[in-house]
């Protein structure tokens, strides 16, 4: 069984075809890197996988279950979590509240209008545990507005990990980070256990190639190269569209 199986996935915005018959099979526990030049359709592919966009044709299966028509809000309940290229957090709240919201999203408690959220110790404990995994437990009570860009990236990852996903989609997790911050995020990702399958979009090839086992190169919405690190780097098409001559 594959963790993520995509077959013939296509999407067009008016006359602009952004995804063209994409086929992708990611094995359980695999670390897959999606690369491609700007405008290749990488984030659109993520948005199709998470259901934020509806495909024109094709299918998506998560651990054997067809989720092509499953609403995007239901997909996290099936074990899919994602981070965003542009950090999307709750700026007015504390770090631990951000992670608590992620945890709450998967429980029926999210509909409860009567209990005091701050008194739900088990939620806060689990949120702290998720923050511990990304090395932010010591600043859990800090308002998000008082954190650095790199710390926010790690909060995003903590929110995704808190949901205990089977498939984690990371959209450019190293974008805009300093060398130190990049190392911190890299360590967080390396520590994620193998029962979580990871698909990552990344432009920073040094970090990404070290992390990924298999690589898919997208160009104009199409998969043009796929293989392990050595195969993809050695492929002349990769050099032509992405790495440069």
């Amino acid at each position: 069984m594959t963790a993520l199986a995509i077959a013939g996935l296509s999407k067009a915005f008016g006359g602009l075809q952004v995804t063209r018959g994409v086929d992708l099979a990611v094995a359980p526990g695999e670390r897959r890197l999606i690369i491609g030049p700007n405008g290749a359709g990488k984030t659109t592919l993520f948005n199709l996988i998470t259901g934020e966009l509806t495909p024109d044709s094709g299918s998506i299966a998560l651990f054997g279950q067809d989720i092509t028509r499953v609403p995007s809000r239901r997909r996290p309940h099936l074990g899919m979590a994602r981070t965003y290229q542009i950090i999307t957090l709750f700026a007015h709240d504390t770090i631990v509240h951000n992670v608590s919201l992620a945890l709450l999203g998967l429980t029926p408690m999210r509909w409860n209008p009567l209990i005091d959220m701050k008194r739900q110790g088990h939620i806060v404990e689990r949120a702290r545990a998720a923050l511990e995994r990304v090395g932010l437990a010591h600043i859990a009570e800090r308002p998000l507005a008082q954190t650095s860009y790199g710390e926010r990236r790690r909060v995003e990852i903590a929110m995704a990990l808190a949901q205990n996903p089977r498939l984690l989609l990371l959209d450019e997790p190293f974008a805009g980070l300093s060398i130190d911050e990049r190392r911190d995020v890299h360590n967080c990702l390396m520590a994620i256990p193998r029962d979580v399958t990871i698909v990552m979009i990344e432009h920073n090839m040094d970090v990404a190639l070290e992390f990924a086992e298999r690589i898919t190169l997208l160009h104009f919405g199409e998969v043009i190269v796929e293989g392990n690190r050595a195969e993809v780097v050695a492929d002349p098409r990769t050099r032509e569209v992405y790495l440069g001559h």
């Binding site: 934020e52 809000r73 979590a81 919201l101 999210r110 509909w111 005091d116 959220m117």
Partner: protein, 331 residues
């Protein structure tokens, strides 16, 4: 931290004592009635604040919902039903109307939401104004007599005030519980990052719908209190100016806060009912106050005052910290 909590508890205790003793210290029946108006408009503002402050959805049609509950009470009493069935029917109709209002308006957010709610509000006002066989048109509907809940006479100004105060305190407690709850946190999440909330597994539309129902319930409650207070309901109550007025209460007091809408309601009602007796162009004064609030405290009176208070305390504390310590005198 403890000092802040103590200061808050003291302020709340003082406010509570002040509220329950209003009929004893305000000068006359007129001012007791003004206090009653502040209370039921505060409930209305609290209801609107659920949408404006916590959901980020600015409604310009809430007066229509307020009016539906008021008219429903009037119809039921005119038809010969008692006060309890009239009140229950008004609440039910208010919620049903809010459901339809939410289904139509939640198709959009931002400007789209404002325009849909404005349109619905205008349709409801138009119906009240033109459907004369049902609403009496401009002549409105008059009520005769007020209820006596649990044998408590509310025909006097102070009796009605205490009934309004009881309902008001219940409304404040309910809103306070709601905003601290997981659903309240989720609602604020949909206000700040709806896309992220969806990706976290929340049903953004449904959360907003429940918020609309809660807002509609508070609006209906205030509409019932209003119609019992005035014992009259006419299309003017449903007009756009009424919706704008309650929105002004929320924004001027501080949207998204618990006490902001209450302070905003007090401000608007006092300017309308008290200051208007001394200043002919009270509308102008209200406008000037609003402009001043927007310039000096864009976040509203309550959070703005809190900010200024903290700033002042910091400035007072700063010289004390930086002052040199007195040297110990040698024996």
């Amino acid at each position: 931290m403890n000092r802040i909590v103590n200061a808050r508890l003291t302020a709340l205790a003082v406010a509570f004592i002040a509220l329950i003793t209003v009929p004893h210290w305000v000068p006359g029946v007129y001012y007791i009635n003004v206090a009653s108006q502040i209370l039921f408009y505060a409930i209305f503002a609290l209801g609107l604040n659920v949408l404006v402050g916590h959901a980020g959805l600015v409604s310009l049609g809430h007066a229509g919902l307020f009016g539906i509950a008021a008219y429903a009470t009037g119809f039921m009493l005119q038809a010969g039903y008692g006060h309890l069935p009239a009140t229950v029917m008004a609440l039910v109709l208010g919620l049903v109307a809010m459901s339809a209002y939410a289904v139509l308006s939640l198709r959009s957010t931002g400007i789209g939401f404002i325009m849909i709610t404005l349109a619905i509000g205008e349709i409801l006002w138009g119906l009240a104004y033109r459907w004369i066989s049902l609403t009496g048109g401009d002549n409105g509907i008059s009520l005769h007599g007020r209820p006596s809940p649990f044998g408590f006479d509310v025909n006097s100004a102070s009796g009605f005030y205490y009934m309004s105060l009881t309902v008001f305190l219940a409304a404040v407690a309910t809103v306070s519980i709601f905003v601290r709850s997981p659903l309240g946190a989720a609602l604020r999440g949909t206000r700040d990052q709806p896309r992220r909330m969806n990706a976290l597994g929340y049903h953004v539309w449904a959360i907003r719908f429940w918020a609309c129902l809660f807002s509609g319930l508070l609006t209906a409650v205030s509409g019932i209190l209003f119609v019992y207070y005035t014992q009259f309901i006419s299309p003017q109550t449903l007009a756009l100016t009424s919706s704008a007025e309650v929105l002004l209460m929320v924004i001027s007091g501080g949207a998204g806060t618990l006490f902001g809408p209450i302070v905003g309601a007090a401000l608007v009602v006092i300017v309308k009912s008290v200051v208007s007796g001394f200043i002919e162009r009270w509308n102008m004064l209200l406008g000037a106050i609003f402009v001043a609030i927007v310039i000096l405290m864009p976040e509203g009176l309550v959070p703005g005052s809190t900010r200024l208070w903290r700033l002042a305390m910091k400035k007072i504390a700063a010289p004390a910290k930086s002052a040199p310590r007195p040297t110990e005198a040698k024996p």
